[in-house]
Amino acid sequence: MGWLGGWNGMRISMDIELKDIPGQLVQALKPVSDLGGNIISVLHQRDKKTASGRIPVQLVFEMEERRLDRLVEKLKAEGMHVVSIGKERLKDSMVVILIGHIVHSDIRDTIERIDSTGFAEVVGLSLSMPGVDKKSSAALVLSAIGKKELKEALKILEETATEKGIMIISPI
């Protein structure tokens, strides 16, 4: 069982619009729980009514991606408008420091090895190069869809670094 077999809860932010009648918010949240979702935050913006008199609500929750379509159907069936869905696929991040001939050992390839996994990406890089022939230092931000995948990404980075003679400093 690979990483696809585990819990693929993805963080999702969703903007919906409710009719201005009592009980609508509960009606909107119930299907999220019914489908096994985990609600993280609810922003009920009563003071920002739309032109059509609806109330915008911003939801953030975690849910298996394959259940998302079913959720949207249910919400629509209740007469709610789903305005937008944003997926925050990469939930967990860590900073690592690299020391060595980072650029000359093909940093693009180093990053590509992480990005090509499909479950992790390099989302930030700051590089400091003191001079030709001197060792550079870099701070690299790794993100992944979960903690387990983040560990796996770090392992790939460590293997790549060992191969290229780069030192990796990871968080405790």
Partner: protein, 335 residues
């Protein structure tokens, strides 16, 4: 000490009379009356030996006699092993320098003392990092104690904290800074934005780093201490060759700055856990973490199943600090 309790005389030999050995003599003298009053122990140093020779007095050496150790003509032609075997005493303090290649001469001193029915208290990491199990088995067979608080973290109570105060807890991991020299160098590099070589030279000038700093900066000293923790706390049968070790010689001021910008300090961390992890490496420590201590301090976080995380911070090196740990070990044998 309660009224009516009998005073127990504890005769001590000190083998290896460098900084630590003379520190032990100093604190035994300085604390003699207090220990007699509080613990009912009359500590007497009956013999001192090192490569130069020995001095003995079965009634207890005086402060003057000890101070003159090493002066011309004042030494007996008696080897350390003869002293350990032939002079009657209860506790042998082994304070010769650490040797991680074969553990000698400390290893033979400890074996000889246990075989002569002496308790042993040591600050010498070599014998424990190489032959932990063998030595503990011998001590048990002889019904004697082998204590070694001074080997890890100097004055910082770690081994007895776990053994006594945290008794009943399962320890799942210990992680910390176990080498003050590396901590000093990294702290200074971070604060002053100076390169490694520069700070190392500075540390050598003020006596924080040795002229051959490799044991410290390459992580060997930390690895050896980690092995002692692995064997004594986690029941492993490891030697220091089993540890994955990376030192601090490659760390750049730029890396320290990048880490700081991201909210981290870089520290040389020793890491041992119940799953057999044994690793020494520079790691990113969040600036708000209790492990983020500066200067020459040592620190360790003990993860206990009942008590949670407990962190101890203290002076890792120094003769009086090591002597403090040795003295508490001696008292613990009799309490």
């Amino acid at each position: 000490m309660r009224a009516g309790e009998k005073i127990k005389t504890v005769r001590i030999s000190i083998v290896g009379f460098g900084h630590v050995g003379s520190g032990v003599a100093e604190v035994v003298m300085r604390k003699h009356d207090e220990i007699l009053r509080k613990h009912g122990l009359d500590l007497r140093i009956v013999g001192i030996a090192d490569l130069k020779g020995a001095i003995i007095d079965e009634g207890g050496l005086s402060r003057d006699e000890i101070a003159r150790f090493g002066a011309d003509g004042a030494l007996l032609d008696m080897s350390s092993l003869e002293l350990i075997r032939e002079i009657e005493h209860e506790v042998m303090v082994e304070a010769t320098p650490t040797n991680v290649t074969n553990g000698e001469p400390g290893l033979t001193h400890i074996i000889t003392a246990l075989n002569s029915n002496r308790h042993v208290v040591t600050s010498n990491k070599g014998p424990l990092a190489l032959e932990y199990r063998k030595l503990m088995e011998l001590a048990e067979r002889k019904g004697r104690e082998l204590r070694f608080e001074a080997t890890v973290g100097g004055a910082m109570p770690l081994i007895s904290l776990i053994r006594e105060n945290l008794a009943g807890n399962g320890i799942t991991a210990i992680r910390g800074i176990l080498n003050g020299t590396c901590n000093y160098i990294l702290t200074r590099m971070t604060n002053e934005n100076l390169p490694y070589e520069h700070v190392l030279r500075e540390a050598q000038e003020i006596g924080i780093a040795e002229s051959d700093p490799s044991k410290d900066v390459e992580g060997i000293d930390t690895a050896v201490k980690l092995v002692i923790l692995a064997n004594s706390v986690f029941g492993m049968d490891a030697t220091y060759r089993d540890v994955r070790v990376q030192g601090i010689t490659e760390i750049t001021p730029d890396a320290l700055k990048l880490a700081r910008d991201a909210g981290y300090a870089i520290k040389l961390i020793g890491d041992v856990d119940i799953d057999g992890r044994l690793e020494v490496a520079p790691r990113l420590v969040p600036v708000s973490d209790p492990l983020n201590v500066g200067g020459t301090l040592n620190v360790a976080t003990i993860r206990a199943d009942l008590a949670g995380d407990i962190t101890v911070i203290g002076k890792g090196a120094g003769p009086i600090e090591a002597a403090s740990a040795i003295l508490s070990d001696i008292i613990a044998i009799y309490s």
